[in-house]
């Protein structure tokens, strides 16, 4: 579904991604772990072209998306959801409006259809009575669940999660991970940057270790955690597990 060839990204002189070649199949749940600053977010943000790659190609459903015009990029982004560490809910809009804004503005749904969809999604993320509240009145965990609902409203084919639980108080991590597990079980294609090793073990179809701008090692979760090969990964796992 997503195919990445020799992807590099520089910020000025700093080479952040140093040549990544990867395939992500439909229905896969790829979990990316690695030390901070290793380029995990940059990699994720290149996939939906929030960052413009310096070189290399990215294919989505067989179509190269790295050389597209803005209009076509916007169309691609509708099909790739993104969930942020800091939720980035729209504070001036109600929860319902947060969810319906994009599908309505983009002419995908009428306000009525979108409202109905929002009600369904709110039920699905376990917050059916919050439609008319504002984001400020929610806890962190609730905010992230709404952010996921907002993404789902676009019916994306893949969702990119960038440390979705890193900004949460520990007692709220579970509710977000549970929702993500639920999505995984329903067959959603997911690329997840996280420090939650339990989630990686349980949900991932593949775990990637990124360090210094490359994918240093990857494997199925059981082998990844029981038989790490590179010293860097061994050292990293010994610190986080």
């Amino acid at each position: 579904m997503i195919s990445v060839k020799n992807l590099t990204k520089d910020f000025g002189d700093r080479k952040v991604l140093k040549g990544i070649t990867e395939e992500i199949q439909k229905g896969e749940k790829v979990v990316i772990i690695g030390p901070s600053g290793s380029g995990k977010s940059t990699f994720l943000r290149c996939l939906n072209l929030m960052e413009t790659p310096t070189s290399g190609e990215i294919y989505f459903d067989g179509k190269e998306i790295t050389k597209l015009h803005d209009k076509e990029i916007n169309l691609i982004r509708r099909r790739m959801g993104m969930v942020f560490q800091h939720f980035n809910l729209f504070p001036h809009l109600t929860i319902k409006k947060n969810i319906t804004l994009a599908p309505v503005k983009l002419g995908i749904m009428t306000q009525e259809e979108a409202d109905k969809k929002a009600a369904e999604l709110l039920k699905r993320v376990g917050l059916p009575d919050k439609a008319d509240d504002y984001p400020a009145s929610l806890s962190g965990g609730q905010k992230q669940r709404i952010a996921i609902a907002r993404t789902l409203a676009m019916n994306p084919e893949v969702i990119l999660f960038d440390e979705p639980t890193s900004a949460l108080d520990p007692e709220m991590v579970g509710e977000v991970l549970n929702l993500m597990k639920q999505l995984a079980d329903e067959g959603m294609t997911m690329v997840v940057v996280t420090h939650e090793m339990g989630f990686a073990k349980e949900v991932a179809s593949r775990v990637m270790f990124m360090a210094d701008g490359v994918v240093m090692e990857q494997n199925s979760p059981d082998k990844f955690f029981s038989n790490p090969e590179s010293p860097r990964l061994k050292e990293f796992l010994s610190r986080v597990l």
């Binding site: 169309l75 982004r77 509708r78 959801g81 400020a136 009145s137």
Partner: protein, 229 residues
């Protein structure tokens, strides 16, 4: 000469009060339209500047905007008014009030631009990213997500800018516009008494400014209480 006599001489005799009321009307007309021009210009400049800062697009318009801001904020408004009247519109037969509206509008636009740009840049980058990641284009994200938030934070500052402009128009007399300040001065030159007409002018400005400031404070409190929902 006692107070009543002086009052009569300065305001009642020969209907001199008309200098003040006509002047006030001129002042308000200039301020009103200059505020509108300033807002339009200021928002335009602010959007160009913040678009450049956030996306690196619109470099050339951004350079023009920066020149505009530097020149306008780096020179006195009176000098700008004189240049626009005596240099730019020198050979064009045109209403002085119109010239003043243009001059004060262009001047105010620079200050509005910096206020609005500050408001736009104060909106978290994550808001832009969230909008764009949903497939909204830059313009849609600005209109539906960034501007409503920016506007709310800058509204009081914009209202204050309008109040400042009301006072700034008092230099319109430099191009012989009979605004309220000039009106007071004309009375002074006729009656040879400075106290009454000038204090009257000051009081009228003061009352307007105090009332408008009250309104702004009220607005500010309304916006603040909205935030807590």
């Amino acid at each position: 000469m006692n107070f009543a006599e002086s009052f009569r001489q300065n305001f009642i005799e020969e209907d001199r009060w008309r200098y003040l009321t006509d002047g006030l009307k001129t002042t308000l007309i200039i301020t009103f339209f200059a505020v509108i021009i300033g807002m339009v210009l200021g928002f335009l400049v602010a959007i160009i500047r913040s678009t450049y800062l956030r996306t690196k697009r619109l470099l050339i318009p951004d350079i023009l905007c920066r020149i505009y801001l530097t020149v306008i904020r780096g020179t006195p408004v009176v000098v700008q008014l004189l240049i626009i009247y005596f240099v730019i519109f020198a050979s064009v037969p045109i209403s002085k009030t119109f010239v003043a509206i243009i001059a004060f509008g262009i001047n105010s636009g620079a200050y509005v631009a910096e206020i609005v740009r500050g408001g736009i840049m104060a909106v978290d980058v994550g808001q832009l990213e969230a909008g764009r990641s949903l497939g909204l284009n830059y313009r849609q994200t600005m209109v539906s997500i960034i501007m409503p938030q920016a506007l709310k934070t800058v509204l009081p500052a914009l209202a204050n800018e309008a109040i400042v402009l009301l006072k700034e128009t008092s230099v319109a007399g430099y191009i012989a516009i009979a605004d309220i300040t000039k009106g007071g001065d004309i009375i002074r030159s006729q009656t040879f008494s400075a106290f009454m007409p000038l204090i009257a002018v000051a009081l009228i400005y003061l009352i307007m400014v105090v009332l408008l400031t009250r309104l702004v404070n009220l607005l500010e409190r309304r916006l603040a209480s909205n935030d807590k929902r």
